[in-house]
């Protein structure tokens, strides 16, 4: 179980190492590498998940769940090889192909863990996913953070919402939902 504080629930410093709040209140950036890696991670995640990049990490993002997944993935031994593929590939989709079809299980199953994290808010260890037969239910696993559950993409792919986290009004369930594209494609700016 993760011990968390109300601060984390409000989206501040949710396990991130990208920035620390200095006494004067300005955010100090860690190494520039980290910031560009984070952006690349989000791009690759969009290709892996099939969800628009601006949905995974909106410009206005009070929740910043990308940090939770980035840091979780970063602690895995397959992360650097995976990121090397990402840096070398001409675009995110071909990087995703190379990752998800990779002969190296460390890379392939880390790709699967990353998809599951964005979809479910839960971290499944790549080594556990790689077991044959893969155990079910998978144990142990952890909810990455309380907000991760509320940001899970599987619910939006279902044209719904996380159970326990509706952002809609009374009676919406009598109507058809918005289209799948409305839920997952990058918003079209006016």
């Amino acid at each position: 179980m993760i011990d968390f504080t109300r601060r984390k629930v409000l989206g501040v410093a949710g396990g991130t190492v990208v920035g620390e709040v200095s006494p004067t209140g300005t955010i100090e950036r860690a190494a520039a590498d980290d910031a560009s890696d984070l952006n690349l991670f989000v791009k690759i995640s969009a290709a892996l998940t099939g969800i628009g990049e601006k949905r995974l990490a909106p410009d206005v993002d009070p929740i910043q769940v990308k940090h939770d997944y980035f840091n979780q993935a970063k602690s895995d031994p397959g992360f650097e090889p995976l990121m090397q593929i990402a840096r070398a590939a001409p675009d995110a989709n071909s990087a995703a192909e190379k990752i998800m079809n990779n002969a190296d299980p460390q890379i392939k199953f880390l790709g699967r863990s990353i998809i599951l994290a964005w979809y479910l808010g839960v971290w499944y260890e790549p080594t556990v996913l790689a077991q044959v037969p893969a155990p079910f239910p998978v144990n142990p696993m952890k909810v990455v953070s309380p907000v991760a559950y509320t940001q899970g993409w599987v619910w939006r792919v279902a044209q719904a919402h996380p159970m326990g986290y509706s952002e809609q009004r009374f009676g919406y369930w009598s109507d058809e939902p918005l289209s799948l594209d409305d839920f997952i494609k990058n918003p079209v700016k006016p």
Binding site: T49, L116, N139, Y149, S174
Partner: protein, 622 residues
Amino acid sequence: MCADKVDPLDAIIVGSGVSGVLIAKALGRAGKKVLILEAGEKLPPDINGYMNRFLTATAKVPESPYPPEIFTDSKLTDPATVNAGRPTVLSLGHWYKFGDARDPKQAYLIQKGTLPFASTYERINGGSARHWLGTSLRFIPADFEMKSRYNRFTDWPIKYNDLERWYGLAEKEIGVAADVEDQNYLGIHFSSQYPMPKIPLSRVDMAVAKGMTTLKVPGIGLDSTEWKVSSTPAARNSQPYQDRRVCAGNTNCIPICPIQAKYDPSVTLADALRTGNVTVWNRSVASQLVVDEAGRVSGVDFIEYADDQGPIVRRGRITAKVFILAGNAIETPRLLLMSKNERTPNGVANRRDGEGVVGKFLMDHPLYLGWALMPQPVWGYRGPLSTAGIEVCRDGDFRRDRGAFRIEIGNEGWNFATLDPDTTTLDLVNGLNHGGLNSDPPRALFGAALVKELNDKLSRQFRIGFLVEQSPEATNTVTLAEHATDGLGLPRPQIDYNLSDYTKQGMAAAKTTASAIFKNLGATEFTQPADKDDPCSFEWPSDQGQTTRIKYFGAGHIIGTHRMGTSANDSVVDDMQRSWDHENLYLVGSGTFPTSATANPTLTIAALCLRTADHIVRRVLN
């Protein structure tokens, strides 16, 4: 011993669940002094703590938001170390594995019967209805007359008409949303209106409703049934009510409504406290009742503890004019049976001659679950967990032979059925097939292909659940375990449970009906038979001379163990829920139901408790 001074009390209530708090509020409003002994932690100022527990829970089971901790170091917490423990559905797993129902180190209830009792409960402020669905159906008149009409079991000592007015008052008290025009089937009639209009139907409901006019289910006594889908009365705000918000369709009624649009008894507990006449002592477990030479209950011993697995901080005995046990139909008989001494050799309220039935006739609604994929999207995972059902099948001559059922239409896709959407997501990403939707051969998908496949499958999922009437059997019992105690050293409840042929016949009829409904809708059924090492299952003959394995879930309805009746010869309480043996003792809740019927019990519990409270105020305490 107890050093606290308390004002002379009119009533002590054991338990702050729905029964206890409704009575506490009524007594408090009438100026009576009430003390509630609650085994669990105190009412928090808001539900944020419980919501956060829910959000981080990996297993989002009904008990997941509420203490005590289900897990310790990735294993189920040993119930012997927990002061006010309770069962968890996670202890109903396969034999010899995680959650073995027969391992006392994993299961709070000591399960000695042929089958495990599959329902669970909370011991906390607000009680088990913290995580109820909200379904607020009335019983039908026939439910009170099983013996007269169908020569089965027993009649209740009261009839629908005796309770009708109290149903109306209960519907106002907890805030039920429904329209009378939808609800006057099978003899139900109303002298009042519901306080709020009905909750709108979901897309799933509408899709199921389309198939009703052509549905035929032969061979189970429902040949002439005119099938229809009915809106389900629910304690869920369709308008602002009691300063609580309108439902926003969080699809999370079980285990916790994030905005308390669903009524839960903590609302009434807060009302009771506001009267200024009700006090609660939390983390205080009633351990024994004491009876005087006149046969009146003269006191209740309690043990107060510091935290879930922490030290005992106080023991005491308190007294009042009236004692009301509202601890659910397992914990109440447990307390009664723990209260053995010279005057009450078989426990309190249990006769002195060995013929008492405290702890006997334990019932549930065994729940049959069927699930399928619709040919077109119905978009589950939206709206309240259930907004409609099929009620026309709850009565008929077939009740001579088999348990009746009601049908609950679920709005949560296959979440209950297969733990979706997680299971199918894991299947499609990792190339498995635990959910049944990724077979021949399993594929591992990502990107746009994953989105398309998941959307197609999740949007067409739905499930229906059948609440089957369980027969009252004297052999289904709650007793005290001889070799298993809780953290306070008190004996844990021992359960001896089985399903009779009458009940199994009802489950089999449910299975037949589920398949017929799916077929009629053009839906593809995916219901899995149970596997043989699932303890909550039984073999039953199937059509072709073979057998099939049917799984039952618990509905969370704990019924029958201190039944009401017309005399002390065959019951524990009268129709006011008052003990035959001790005139100042009341045993309230669904433990008093002599039969289970098919409706979810909470509204009937509430009606009976309002009636009992009124009786106590006007005739006992004035």
